[in-house]
Symmetry: C3
Subunit: 132 residues, 3 copies
């Protein structure tokens, strides 16, 4: 298993980790298989979406923030980050990708993002490759 | 890696790809392992849900469309499909299944769906099998 | 493939299955690889979130219930559980984890949960390990 470090700078944001992930896959020397990109945090997640226009990430942050609002009087968890926990379960803790020719296979517009929902923090991402 | 082609006919719909996926697994000759069903598009995804009653798919399309509405004045991405990008990140780019006896293992009511959120388009699905 | 049984006691709840999953991994004897935790039901799912404070699970159940309300006159599926199907597609049917030293690798605050959205019922969870 490999580990990446991701530094986030806002409470909620999508951080493009495509290059870091692709670099780690290259370093592993594995040419064919699958790759698990895993977030070990409970107020964050991993998603795949467009990284050509940065406004897409901003729209995802904005819209999920409207749907899962930060202040709901019915939240019971006392840390003020229940919204982040809910978003984490909806976005999901991981993404799995195909590896071909030593690279993660992405669609034309796809990038891999760390989704921060309770930052800014220094976060980790776990990478696990299964050759095959 | 194998590729499927999916033709969608509406802006938002769930397309049942269970038979196409099962056919590809059979063709691979792999009897035991896991299967990654991956969507390389940023306004679409993959989900597993009921395929016995088609109204379930319609309810998923309807309800996600109400929650993540198409027209929000705060969207910044200029293509008019920000809703599709947000839905894509919530539904997720892939699903992973168990393969046993040469078939994807599904629950009684489960089918595999391509979720279109900005169609109609001709789309691709990547399939990757890891024997084991 | 291994199977777990999960008994749920409410219509909507998160059931912590971390110990059951870790026990099955230990029993398998596999020390390194990946683990697929798969839900074969269409009104339930699998998520990873905080299991230290039980109020986090309650907040997830509460908030998803507000967003995807049970009674929407536009639901077409006649069983009164369309909300459960929608939640199932947003939370997702599975999670994949890394296995190291014979254990699923989790972050400090992470636990593995079965997410019930149409209980109470007796449910199954499939586990599949790929060594590597």
């Amino acid at each position: 298993m490999m580990r990446l470090t991701v530094r986030t700078t806002r409470r909620c944001e999508l951080v493009d980790i495509t290059d870091q992930v692709a670099g780690a896959v290259k370093k592993s020397g594995v040419t064919e298989g699958i790759l698990l990109v895993y977030c070990p945090h409970t107020t964050a997640g991993i998603t795949i979406n467009e990284n050509a226009d940065p406004s897409v990430s901003l729209d995802i942050t904005m819209k999920t923030g409207k749907i899962i609002d930060r202040r709901d009087p019915d939240y019971r968890h006392g840390e003020g980050n229940s919204d982040g926990h809910v978003k984490s379960s909806l976005v999901g803790a991981s993404e799995t990708l195909v590896i071909e020719n030593g690279e993660p296979v992405l669609g034309t517009w796809q990038g891999i993002f760390f989704t921060e929902f309770d930052g800014p923090r220094t976060r980790s991402v776990f990478l696990k490759i299964i050759p095959g």
